[in-house]
Amino acid sequence: MSASQTIAYNPDYDGPIISVRGLRNSFGKQVVHDNLDLDVRRGEIIGVVGGSGTGKSVLMRSIIGLQKPNEGEVEVFGQHILGKSDAETIEIRKRWGVLFQGGALFSTLTVAENVMVPIREFYPEMDREFRREVAKYKVCLSGLPPDAAPKYPSQLSGGMRKRAGIARALALDPELLFLDEPTAGLDPIGAAAFDSLTKELQQTLGLTVFLITHDLDTLHAICDRVAVLADQQVIAVGTIDELLALDHPWIQEYFNGPRGRMASAGKKVRA
């Protein structure tokens, strides 16, 4: 296989969806990641937590190819994608969707048109009328009211903008969804509604979700496993109960601080 050939997507692959090995990222003298390993299993919602500046977003950007790591290997769907060009990874990139922190919607396009952009980019041969239908049902599938589809992002509230971002991330029916702090800036009701939307979509569409968050409620409510970033590495991955059994000061403070205890109490009340 020559270097410029497109990496094929293998639908029968059933290993870890994302596999990061020995990742190293540094900006100047500041080392963000050093020898970082992480596996994400098929069909799980993995929450990525860590203090500010521990490189949660950098990790996500390294996986989706927006940040070029100094060293390390990144496999997505069992394929090495680091150092490959956009043309080579196109089949892999079709299989993931990304929701950026602010939604990152194209401000000159309506919500429905935003959803149509990736479809037109990756499947230009699709019938126009059908593409419009797909955009419409994706908007409604993301929990937006039907009258939101012809609106511009500036006419939407923060929570609706996030949902529109999800609709665009789901445009290509991906298997893997990256969410960067999806509940940041939402009120508690909106955040809880977004959590249940994430869970619902994950179950209906069989998604694997890579979720960066600061929101302890989100972790308790929907995450199957939690990966903790500290000291330039993923220091632990597991369920919250497993993490609590570890004797790491940051983890203890994070989950057993006043906010952590409240969130966990809320989880028990809901359950």
């Binding site: 059908f130 797909v134 049902y137 908007v139 409604c140 209906t204």
Partner: protein
Amino acid sequence: MSIPSDFVEETAENGAVTLHFSGDLSIASVGDLPERLRAYAGAATRLDISETGYVDTVGAWLVHRTARDMEAEIVGADDDAQRLIAAVAGADQATDIRPEPLNPVIRVISEVGEATAVTFTTLSGLVGFFGAIIVGFFRLVRHPGRVRWNAVIQRFDVVGVRALGIVGLMSFLIGLVIAQQGAVQLRQFGAEVFTVNLVGRLTLRELGVLMTAIMVAGRSGSAFAAQIGTMKLTEEIDAMRTIGVSPIEALVLPRFLAAVIMLPLLGFYASVVAIIGGGLLSWVELDIPPATFFSRIREVVPLTDVYVGLVKAPVFGAIIAVTGCYQGMQVKGNAEDVGKRTTAAVVQAIFLVIVLDAFFAVFFSWIGWN
């Protein structure tokens, strides 16, 4: 790779038509199936998807939509497909891709009306803002201790001193061009010596100050709007108000004073540099030595020309500062608005400067300063 979707028609003995789908039903495999299904003229009563492979929401939507339009029933769906079809059926709601377009006649009328309203509110807003600056200025005159000298001096530096390089270069080149064009045209009458008059009077009376004002509007007027607009966005200005600091005193007046004081200085400097540029070209092209050139300048340029230039300059400076700060204070909402307001500040400042320049020209010739 995915297997392309397809369907075959089967008519049972009792006349019931079933469409049997095959292959994958996914975004990557549907291909031209949507078009073919739309073109399909028969009336099927059953859609059989038991033979299909991988199904995603796009495939589920296609099946759901076909079933909806043909009033057919879906059979043979496995659990996953059923779940997806139920999900897309729940999301099947009437909606639009774009907002409904307005009637073009109404749109044109409403846009003209809106533009007119905006023009008048901007003008009255500018006048009101100018008034607020004057009030703030006299309050400062009564309480000189409140003047923020540091801020004022810093603005002098940014608006005036740091503009010397670019204004000087621009004026030098303009002086060269005026002299060169003048020499070419006047030579036809053998009157190339009048190039000196052209350079001296044009730069001191009009171009020196006008070009400086345009440059300062682009350089500092835009900066005023962007700085104050960003502070408005980050609620710095609201914070100032709550702790009793007047934004007019703290932000606007230093900029206003800097522009009003620096523009005459920059304008005079620009005129001098332009004359030097014109003199250089006259020396090279017309063999007029610098000493002769400058003594001719003193003879042909009346002192009133210098006054004309210098009277206009502070007014232009005030216009630039007022539009820049006013547009900055009008910023609302998001970062995009900062860009729009900055553009508006520069465009309005340059427009008003040129309009006022025309009025000044009429006024000065009326009072006999020709």
